[in-house]
Amino acid sequence: MTTIASLKKGQRAIIGEMNSEEIPLKLLEMGCLPGNEVELIQVAPFKDPLYLNINDTFLSIRKDTARLINVELIEDE
């Protein structure tokens, strides 16, 4: 299963169903919703947290949370 945590730097993906109750509501409010696009901008030194662009909002979340969000990769042509 692909999640945000397994994205590589620069990769983009579409957010899938969000089922886990552990996902903070705040993240949804910031635009992390099914169907929206997510891009991994940068990974912090020591590989955590992740710096993302979700739906034009730039934010950073920890790997633990990123693992909960399923995505589908957008293949580059």
Partner: protein, 700 residues
């Protein structure tokens, strides 16, 4: 008679609410706290037209009406409570043109409460550069409200905004989303149970209880046939509501907003590449800290010397020109040195806040949070703990409050516990005066000042101890917690000059009038305690000293000194100091320093003022605080009192001891129990005593 309306400024964090507030109100703002909690409350009254005034309230930033923190709770409590004296007649939602989509979520929620809600879109100055175009007329139609494009940076659009506020009664109250579409059956039964309540308000009261503890559980009970849902069902409905709102917003913006994506992210990416680089990122962060501390030290010296001299001259002036007597003594020896002991910190505090507010304003702080999160987690804290730890260099009180942004309770508690180790500005005067007495004012490699280096080492020691004790605390605390961390990474911006100035003025003012009051009061009390004694030995000091000395062998001057030190010894404060002398002697201090340490428990910065007061009582010579201190001799060892050993011991004592009543009070408030402040008081102070003891005994 002119009418006054209530206007509330609401918006996501970082949309420029405070800048907009500053622009609307100028410097006539009032800063206080919400009753019972320590969330900052900023308000001001302005004139909109000849017979309309507006009371403007800057509310804490929030992403939605689903509050998860005390700050956000303030917003929703106000908007749900018609009886609150601040309940708004009109709400202005401040949003940021670049994040309009996200900002509109909050807007639609507030509009659905049935309040007149104006949308103020800020940062219009950035539209060109980012290739953004917006159809305002269409947006007004779709959102059914007044939309104002403004720029706090350029001070544009504010007249129009004020007009929209004045005409608030014309704004439609039509909701954006039909609440019952979230879950038909549930909302219909809810409405049936409470027919005369606003449906969306009811829903918010319910979600509020779920989000924010059970305090208001009983506001909506399960009576009248209404079947409540479980917490997890409600959470799912909240998700559904959010998705529905975003559908509405996306549709609206598709019609009204166009963005040239190529222009959007160039600068951010370039600066990020450097500032969050795995090596350079840390190098730059440390260099910035180093530079800040060197600069504060260098820049403050001149104004501080000047202030010191000025108050000295003032004291002398009063002494020479007022009729001699108790009042003149009180003013020249108690009040003026006391006030001087407050004013002398103003330069450093101002410079420190200058730098902190620039770092916040530019968007750099969030990068530091991002860089430091993994590291800080090793020590039981969060990347967000960096902000409290850095603001701790100003004052532990706002720093403890800043820890509220940390989502996990354990990380937050650890941060609160260790923040008082960071070097707050109250320690700075103590450090500065002792450093200037015991560390040579010379340059190392002709470049770095030894005194500056010592100061920086003390700051690093503060951070180091904070971090190390964080590790210890996280190992000892048994608290289950979920790691949860969401940080916005704002765009880089040049700081707005006005915002920086207001922050500096406000923080300095709150220091001068807040801490200053305590310092002044203590200085006066100390002066009284040092100027009177319990026995007649004090009153007859002249005779006693004269009869016990061979008058032909001493000069008048020596006799004077002899008398005044005899008096001090037999004053109230002298007896108190003598009582604790055995405890402080092993650390290399005399009883006068002991007194200063005791009075430091009210506030550390009292230390210098206390010594100044004690040493100046009965002292006719014109001397600065520093020269008086360097003239003191050690009563037991002989030689100067402030040596390298006793100086270092004092520095370490002040670095570690918990000596601030206000911090203890705020920790009690934030953690809800006296347990944690007591742990700090005894843990930190005990540690400080041991370290200072070892240092003095090893170095002497």
């Amino acid at each position: 008679m002119s009418k006054q309306i209530n206007v509330a400024l609401v918006g996501n964090p970082n949309t420029g609410k405070t800048s907009v507030f500053n622009n609307l109100t100028g410097l006539n703002q009032k800063v206080g706290n919400y009753p019972g909690i320590t969330v900052e409350k900023k308000e001001a009254v302005i004139k909109l037209s000849r017979n309309l005034k507006a009371h403007i309230l800057d509310l804490p930033g929030t992403y939605s009406l689903n509050a998860t923190s005390l700050d956000e709770n303030v917003v929703i409590e106000l908007l749900l409570n018609k009886n609150d004296k601040d309940y708004p007649d009109v709400v202005v939602v401040v949003s940021d043109i670049e994040n309009l989509k996200r900002n509109l979520l909050l807007f639609t929620q507030i509009k659905d409460l049935g309040l007149p809600t104006i949308l103020a879109i800020n940062m219009a100055d950035r539209m060109d550069r980012k290739g953004i175009q917006l159809d305002i007329d269409l947006l007004e139609k779709r959102l059914n409200t007044k939309v104002n494009l403004i720029s706090a940076r350029k001070n544009e659009g504010f007249d129009a905004l004020k007009q929209s506020i004045s005409a608030y009664q014309n704004i439609s109250l039509e909701p954006c989303l039909d609440a019952s579409s979230i879950d038909k059956t549930y909302f219909e039964s809810l409405q049936k149970a409470y027919p005369d309540q606003d449906l969306y308000k009811l829903w918010l009261v319910i979600t509020q209880d779920v989000n924010f503890g059970k305090t208001n559980r009983n506001r909506i009970s399960s009576e009248s046939g209404f079947k409540p849902k479980s917490d997890s069902e409600i959470k799912q409905l909240q998700q559904k509501e959010t998705i529905k709102r975003y559908q509405f917003i996306n549709n609206t913006l598709k019609e009204t907003l166009t963005k040239d994506l190529a222009l959007a992210t160039g600068l951010r990416a370039k600066i990020d590449r450097l500032l969050i680089h795995k090596v350079w990122g840390y190098v730059i962060f440390l260099s910035i800290l180093f530079l800040i501390f060197q600069t504060i030290y260098d820049w403050s010296t001149y104004p501080m010397d000047l202030i010191d001299e000025t108050f000295l001259v003032l004291s002398e002036f009063v002494k020479d020109n007022f009729p001699a007597g108790m009042l003149s003594d009180l003013i020249s020896e108690g009040v003026i040195p006391g006030i001087g002991g407050i004013v002398i910190f103003v330069p450093q505090i101002a410079f420190l806040f200058l730098f902190i507010s620039i770092l916040e304003e530019t968007g750099y702080m969030s990068r530091v949070v991002f860089l430091m999160d993994r590291v800080m987690r090793k020590f039981g804290m969060s990347g967000k703990s960096v902000v409290p730890l850095v603001s701790g260099t100003a004052c532990a009180i706002p720093a403890v409050m800043a820890a509220r942004n940390i989502e996990s309770w354990k990380e937050r508690l650890v941060t609160i516990l260790v923040v008082p180790f960071t070097t707050c500005s109250a320690r700075l005067p103590v450090y500065l005066i002792i450093i200037s007495l015991v560390i040579p004012n010379e340059r190392w490699l002709g470049l770095f000042n030894y005194q500056g280096i010592t100061l920086m080492l003390l700051y690093l020691l503060g951070f180091g101890t904070a971090v190390a004790s964080g590790w210890l605390a996280s190992k000892m605390l048994k608290i289950d917690f979920k790691s949860y961390f969401v940080v916005e990474m704002p765009d880089y911006k040049l700081p707005i000059f006005k915002n920086v100035v207001y922050t500096v003025v406000e923080k300095t003012k709150s220091f001068v009038f807040g801490a200053g009051k305590i310092i002044l009061a203590i200085s006066i009390i100390l002066w009284v305690l040092a100027s009177y004694g319990p026995t007649d030995k004090f009153d007859n000091a002249d005779d006693i000293v004269k009869s016990s000395t061979d008058l032909s062998r001493v000069t008048d001057e020596e006799l004077e000194t002899e008398i005044s030190s005899f008096k001090l010894k037999h004053s109230y404060i002298g007896y108190a100091g003598k009582a604790i002398e055995p405890i402080v002697t092993p650390l290399g201090y005399d009883w006068k320093i002991g007194i200063a340490i005791i009075s430091s428990f009210a506030a550390r910065e009292v230390f210098v003022g206390t010594l100044a007061t004690i040493y100046s009582v009965g002292n006719e010579d014109e001397q600065t605080i520093k020269s008086r201190m360097s003239a003191e001799t050690n009563p037991i060892l002989g030689g100067p009192l402030f040596t390298f050993a006793s100086g270092i011991s004092l520095l370490l004592f002040y670095a570690f001891a918990m000596q601030c009543m206000s911090t203890l009070a705020i920790v009690k408030k934030e953690t809800g129990t006296w347990k944690w402040p007591l742990v700090q008081l005894f843990g930190m102070s005990g540690f400080a005593y041991v370290v200072a003891l070892i240092a003095f005994q090893a170095l002497k």
